[in-house]
C-alpha cells in the first residue's frame, strides 16, 4: 500500500484555480499548439514572451512551486546533460574558457541556454496540463477533439471508455501487485539483490499472477458491462459534459496573439 501513497510525477492535484476550471479541450489545444510555436522563438524577445507565458501559467495554477518542480525534476537531469553536451561541443564565436581539453565558445553558451530553456518550457507546460486536469477530464477532452474523426472510422467513444477503464483499474492492480509481492517475499523471494538479469527474473512470480488476475478481472468486467446493457458507442448518452466558457475562448485568443507575436518577433 505504501507505494500508492506517494504522489506520482505529474499527477493531478485538485484545486480551484483559473487553470483547473478551464475546459480540457481548450487546454489540450493550447498545449499542443504551444509546443509547436515554441520553435518560432529565435531571439531574446521571443524567449522572454514564452517564459512570461509559462510563468503566468504557474501563477494561475495556484499549485505551490515545489510541487511543480518535483514534477519537472526527473527531466532536469536530461536538460542538464543536454546543456553540458552543447556547452562542450558547439564551436563558434569567442573562446570563453579553456579547461584542459575542453574549450567553451560563446556560441556554446548561447546554444546550451536556448536548448535548456526551450526544453524546460515544454516540460513545464506539459506538467501544468496534467497537474491541473484530471485524467478523466483529459480523456473526455481527447474524446471530443477526436469526435470529428468518428466519421472516418476512429471509434472515439470506445477509445475514451477504454482509457477511463484503464484509469479506473490502475490503483486496483497496483494494490494487487503489492499484495503479491508481499506474499512471494514471505516465500523467500528477493527482489532487491543480485545483478540486473536476476532481478528481472525474480519478478516472474509477481508478473504472472498479476497478468492472470488482470485477465480474470477483464473477463468479469466485460460480463458485468454486458449485463448493464453496453453495446458499444452507438445510442449512448453521456453523464459527463464539457462546458465551453468565456475563459476558454479567451485562452484561444491569447494563443492566437502569442503565435502572431512570435512570428513577428522572429525578425
Amino acid at each position: 500500500m505504501s507505494r500508492l501513497n506517494h504522489p506520482v510525477i505529474g499527477q493531478y492535484i485538485p484545486a480551484d484555480s483559473f487553470l483547473h476550471r478551464l475546459d480540457p479541450r481548450a487546454k489540450l489545444v493550447f498545449v499542443f499548439v504551444f509546443m509547436m510555436i515554441v520553435f518560432l522563438a529565435k531571439n531574446a524577445a521571443g524567449y522572454s514572451l514564452l517564459v512570461g507565458v509559462a510563468l503566468s501559467g504557474v501563477l494561475l495554477s495556484r499549485i505551490p512551486l515545489p510541487m511543480i518542480l518535483r514534477g519537472i525534476k526527473p527531466v532536469l537531469y536530461l536538460i542538464i546533460l543536454t546543456a553540458l553536451l552543447h556547452l562542450g561541443m558547439t564551436r563558434g564565436g569567442d573562446v570563453w574558457w579553456e579547461l584542459g581539453p575542453i574549450t567553451v565558445y560563446e556560441q556554446g553558451v548561447v546554444q546550451a541556454t536556448v536548448i535548456s530553456l526551450r526544453f524546460l518550457i515544454l516540460v513545464l507546460m506539459g506538467t501544468l496540463l496534467t497537474l491541473t486536469t484530471s485524467p478523466m477530464e483529459l480523456t473526455d477532452g481527447l474524446e471530443r477533439l477526436l469526435c470529428p474523426l468518428t466519421r472516418v472510422g476512429v471509434p472515439a467513444q470506445d477509445l475514451a471508455l477504454m482509457m477511463s477503464i484503464a484509469l479506473r483499474f490502475i490503483p486496483t492492480l497496483w494494490e494487487e501487485m503489492d499484495k503479491i509481492m508481499m506474499a512471494q517475499r514471505a516465500r523467500g523471494a528477493d527482489f532487491d539483490s543480485g545483478h540486473l538479469l536476476r532481478r528481472v527474473k525474480s519478478y516472474i512470480p509477481v508478473l504472472i499472477p498479476l497478468f492472470i488476475s488482470a485477465f480474470r478481472r477483464a473477463e468479469e468486467l466485460a460480463l458485468a458491462m454486458e449485463a448493464r446493457g453496453y453495446r458499444g458507442g452507438k445510442g449512448r448518452t453521456r453523464i459527463r459534459e464539457l462546458r465551453w466558457k468565456k475563459e476558454d475562448t479567451i485562452l484561444l485568443v491569447v494563443l492566437a496573439v502569442l503565435s502572431i507575436s512570435l512570428w513577428w518577433l522572429r525578425g
Binding site: S2, A186, P205
Partner: protein, 280 residues
C-alpha cells in the same frame, strides 16, 4: 518459538498530513506451539500486525521477537504466511514446481525439496497425481490447497493464516481447518489465525486477541472474550452463534446454564444435564 510483541506501532505516511495510525502500542505474547486467533473488523489493524509478525513490514516503533530473535534475515522460512485468497499468487507450470518455490528460495537441495513438496501435498490432502498438472486447471478449493502447501513446504515453525477459509463451501472450510489443526498438534507448530469467522476462532483458538481501530482492546480465552456480548458489538464483531443462543436462553432461565458454552456440543451437554437433573 515464543513470539513476543512489544509496544508495536505502525503509522502510514508518517510526517505527512495523511498520517494514519494503523497499529498503536500493541503488546502480546504468543506461547510456543499454541493456536491463537486475531479478530477485529475491517481497518482494525489485523493485516498490519501479521505483516509485522512475518517481518514483511518494519514497525514505526516497538518490536517483534520470535524465539528471542528480532532480526528477520535470520528467521527466513521460519514464519510462514498464508494470505487471503492465496491461490491468486500461483505462477508455476505445475503444482509441484509452485510448491517447490519457497524451499528452493531457502537454498535446499533438490532431493530435500522434492521430499518436502510431497510431504506438503499430503498435509493439505492433494492427491499425488496432481503434482505434474497445471495449478490453473484445478478447482478453486484445490488451488487454495496448492497455495497453502507452497507455504507449508518451507516447514515454518509459526504459521499465520489470514482468512484461510474465505470463499470455500462449508464442507471445504471444515476440512481445511481440521487439517491445519492436526498439523498444529502433530508438529507443535504455532498457528496464528486471522478470521472474521467467530465460529472458527471459538472452535480452534486457545487465546484470542481483539483489535479495534489499531488498538488491543481485549485478550484472553475464547470463553471470556465471547461472553462479552456488548463489548463485541461495540467493536463491530458478533459472538459465535452458540454463546449467543446460550445468552438469550440465560436471560430468561433461572438459574442460568453454566458459563463458557462455545460450541453446539457444549450447548447440547449443558441442556441435557439440566434436563436430566431437573426436579420431577
Amino acid at each position: 518459538m515464543e513470539i513476543v510483541i512489544q509496544g508495536l506501532t505502525y503509522r502510514y505516511m508518517a510526517g505527512t498530513p495523511y498520517e494514519r495510525c494503523a497499529l498503536a502500542d500493541v503488546d502480546w505474547t504468543i506461547p510456543s506451539g499454541s493456536f491463537v486467533a486475531i479478530i477485529g473488523g475491517t481497518g482494525s489493524g489485523k493485516t498490519t500486525l501479521i505483516q509485522m509478525i512475518a517481518g514483511l513490514m518494519t514497525p514505526t516503533r516497538g518490536h517483534v521477537l520470535i524465539g528471542g530473535i528480532d532480526d528477520f534475515s535470520r528467521l527466513r522460512g521460519r514464519v510462514g504466511v498464508v494470505f487471503q485468497y492465496p491461490e491468486h499468487q500461483l505462477f508455476e507450470e505445475t503444482v509441484a514446481k509452485d510448491i517447490a518455490y519457497g524451499p528452493l528460495n531457502l537454498g535446499l537441495s533438490q532431493e530435500e525439496v522434492n521430499y518436502r513438496v510431497e510431504q506438503a501435498m499430503g498435509w493439505v490432502g492433494l492427491p499425488r497425481e496432481l503434482a505434474s498438472r497445471s495449478p490453473f486447471h484445478l478447482s478453486g478449493g484445490q488451488m487454495r490447497r496448492v497455495a497453502i502447501a507452497g507455504v507449508l513446504s518451507m516447514q515454518p515453525e509459526v504459521l499465520v493464516l489470514d482468512e484461510p477459509t474465505a470463499g470455500l463451501d462449508p464442507a471445504g472450510q471444515r476440512e481445511l481447518m481440521e487439517r491445519m489443526y492436526t498439523l498444529h498438534r502433530e508438529r507443535s507448530m504455532t498457528v496464528i489465525l486471522v478470521s472474521h469467522n467467530m465460529e472458527e476462532a471459538a472452535t480452534y483458538a486457545e487465546r484470542v486477541l481483539v483489535l479495534y481501530q489499531g488498538r488491543k482492546v481485549a485478550e484472553g480465552q475464547p470463553v471470556d472474550i465471547f461472553s462479552r456480548h456488548r463489548s463485541l458489538k461495540e467493536w463491530g464483531l458478533e459472538a459465535p452463534e452458540a454463546p449467543r443462543l446460550a445468552d438469550r436462553l440465560n436471560r430468561r432461565l433461572d438459574p442460568p446454564l453454566p458459563d463458557g458454552l462455545m460450541t453446539v456440543d457444549d450447548l447440547e451437554e449443558a441442556i441435557l444435564a439440566r434436563w436430566e437433573g431437573r426436579p420431577r
